[in-house]
């Protein structure tokens, strides 16, 4: 094994790319869960985003339009979940699972004619001055737009949740929907918006996988990324900046094990490939011992009967 082949700087640069899909999906799910809704369909929405984004980007030649379509596709799928759980009062765990199963099936149906095609390249940004900095420039400032969009979304979510009235209402709905309802807030409508936002973010994350990270379309290509995003929300104790920390840690593990595979480590490839999942479980265990901060109404059905 040749460990010297692993360059820490390239490692950090590729870590940011590896973390972005999960970061996008996780920040969307964070907003959904802060509104008191548990959507386990992240995996399904991600893969629908992956194929919608891929198909539109290939057909129009524009990755930008691809990302827009991915967000729309993810949001559309999430609205099925929204209607079922918010208006027809179905069990959120079961409905989320249905979303994942349906999304996986539908995506491979949609993606049949796209296997083996290369998508148009998503350009990296060239920020004047910053990109030209030695060492730091190539590592942090020569990525594509979506990497910065994802970080921007974290900052925006944090600011909105913490400082704005909208954020306060959203949190109220997530902590105690009966009280929020009594105060006159439209619990169901607020939750529907949060669910659609979560779907759009998951769609973006999926498209980032198929358009930038891989970049290719294969069936079931999300390979558990949506579930890891769900785990990262728990790891983050429902706080935006910790989501970023969790996603980047996870990105680091993924990239490190890929580098070890390439460097010809003595550990068989399959065992390295399972390490990100095992580490996610390990982190979940450590954090769950003292886990605080779950929204009080998370996963509970709201029905304004009184």
């Amino acid at each position: 094994m040749d460990l010297s082949a692993i360059d820490p700087l390239i490692l950090i640069a590729s870590l940011m790319v590896a973390a972005t899909p999960i970061l996008l999906a996780a920040i969307g799910e964070l907003v959904v869960e802060r509104a008191g809704v548990l959507n386990l369909g992240v995996e399904g929405m991600m893969i629908i985003g992956a194929i919608c984004g891929f198909a539109i980007a290939v057909n129009t030649g524009s990755p930008f339009l691809g990302f827009i379509a991915a967000a729309a596709g993810g949001a559309a799928l999430s609205l099925i979940f929204g209607v079922l759980t918010q208006y027809l009062l179905s069990n959120q765990v079961a409905t989320g699972l249905a979303l994942t199963l349906f999304g996986l099936g539908l995506s491979s149906l949609l993606g049949q004619s796209y296997v083996g095609i290369k998508p148009p390249a998503t350009p990296s940004l060239n920020i004047p001055l910053l990109s030209d900095l030695p060492v730091i420039g190539p590592v942090f400032f020569q990525h594509d737009l979506m990497v910065y969009v994802s970080i921007g979304l974290i900052a925006a979510t944090w600011a909105v949740l913490k400082y704005s009235r909208t954020g306060l209402i959203l949190r109220a709905v997530g902590e105690n929907h009966d009280a929020a309802h009594a105060l006159g807030y439209k619990v169901v409508r607020i939750r529907m918006v949060a669910i659609a936002f979560g779907g759009a973010c998951a769609g973006l994350g999926g498209a980032y996988l198929s358009l930038v990270r891989v970049p290719q379309w294969t069936e079931g290509m999300t390979a558990g990324a949506g579930w890891i995003a769900l785990a990262i929300v728990v790891f983050a104790s429902w706080r935006p900046w910790r989501v970023m920390l969790g996603a980047y840690l996870f990105g680091g593990v993924t990239i490190l094990q890929l580098n070890l595979q390439a460097a010809g480590a003595v550990i068989p490839v399959e065992y390295l490939s399972m390490s990100p999942y095992l580490i996610t479980i390990l982190v979940l265990v450590i954090i769950s011992r003292s886990a605080q901060g779950a929204p009080a109404a998370l996963g509970r059905i709201f029905h304004a009967s009184h």
Binding site: A98, E270, S273
Partner: protein
């Protein structure tokens, strides 16, 4: 404006009718999906639901497949339904199924080419224990550290998939297989093979086990204190606690039983219909079993019927692939849709729909 009014207890009539309604709605929506793919919807639905059983040329081949495909679905779904009733969400049955197959196959292959009659029972025990142990990971993490069992059990599916690939390429690879991945084929190892018990019926030991599991679950839920505790915990965790239910014990029990049953399903599959451990051994029975459990209303007899129905969609899907060129993924989407419609129409059994004048909220 339509208004929902909660029923004091779920309507019995609608509880029985909603699965049928959901299947009908899925047929309509699925027909529209097939029409969008450029296939004749009526022909597609007929090929999926009717031809596997009654077609002149395909029927005789497809009919036995019904039990072969239904057995793992029913076996896994029975286990899952116990947990789902108690609010314990084991959604990693696919992983427990894989590990059961690996452990059972490994135990048998260790004694190749013995012809002792004890080999197969030993493999069955090893398969059940494998699935049980894999399910104990999320169960113990949940009871000791309060870790979410949904996420852990699901993430372990990906770990199990990597593990089966590594087994097919390494430890369990056929030494006489000229380097190809995959274990020895159990067809060449009679003492460890799970044969068709009655010719042309598809009946094998897994089917027998599935029927036993249905009866066992029925008795447990209707006649046994533990079954009562499971039902109470699902309906009101607080009331269950006051009545002396130990929630941690219940989590371990539900996860353990569902893991062991999924492991058994994997063992019967690998020694029979699949024949060997291969890289892509699992085909998603563990996930479809979730649909089976809900479609069967978490009731043993319902699960039996739902398992047969979803087995039919698997076989019909293959037939439609052959006759219409319908993509395999279309059936997957169809099965997902079924769960959606089921959850959607469930509102009818829990709520009354009333017409109401809109009033200031």
């Amino acid at each position: 404006m339509l208004r929902l009014e909660k029923r004091p207890s779920p309507s019995r009539m609608w509880t029985a009718l909603t699965p049928v309604l959901a299947v009908l709605l899925t047929m309509i929506a699925g027909g529209m999906l097939f029409a969008a793919l450029g296939k004749d919807p009526f022909e597609a639905i007929r090929i999926i639901f009717w031809d596997p059983l009654f077609h002149e040329t395909f029927g005789p081949y497809s009919r036995p497949q019904l039990l072969v495909k239904a057995a793992p679905l029913i076996l896994i779904a029975i286990g899952l339904s116990l947990g789902f009733r108690a609010g314990v969400w084991n959604i990693g049955a696919e992983g427990q199924y894989i590990i059961g197959a690996i452990c059972g196959a490994g135990a048998g292959l260790a004694f190749y080419p013995s012809d002792s009659i004890f080999i197969y029972p030993l493999m069955v025990v090893a398969g059940a224990l494998g699935g049980f142990a894999w399910a104990m990971i999320p169960a113990i993490l949940r009871t000791k550290f309060n870790t979410n069992e949904i996420l852990v059990s699901l993430l372990l599916v990906y770990v199990a998939e990597q593990l089966v690939a590594s087994m097919a390429l390494g430890l369990l690879r056929n030494p006489d297989g000229m380097g190809f991945p995959g274990s020895r084929n159990f067809r060449d190892f009679p003492a460890a093979y799970n044969p068709e018990l009655i010719a042309n019926t598809g009946m094998h030991w897994g089917v027998v086990a599935a029927f036993i599991a249905v009866i066992f679950a029925y008795v447990l839920l209707s006649r046994h204190l533990l079954g009562f505790q499971i039902r109470v915990t699902g309906q009101s965790p607080k009331a269950a606690r006051f009545s002396g239910v130990n929630p941690n014990y219940l989590i371990l029990f539900c996860m353990g039983v569902s893991g062991a049953l999924a492991g058994l399903a994997g063992l019967f599959e690998v020694t029979g219909p699949a024949g060997q451990i291969s890289i892509d051994f699992n085909v998603g029975y563990g996930f479809v079993a979730i649909i089976v459990a809900f479609l069967g209303r978490l009731h043993p007899v319902g699960i039996l019927l739902a398992g047969l129905l979803l087995a039919l969609t698997f076989i019909g899907g293959e037939l439609a692939q052959l006759m219409l060129g319908l993509p395999a993924a279309a059936i997957q989407a169809f099965q997902g849709m079924l769960l959606f419609f089921l959850l959607a129409v469930d509102v009818l059994s829990n709520y009354r729909i009333r017409l109401a004048k809109s009033e200031a909220a």
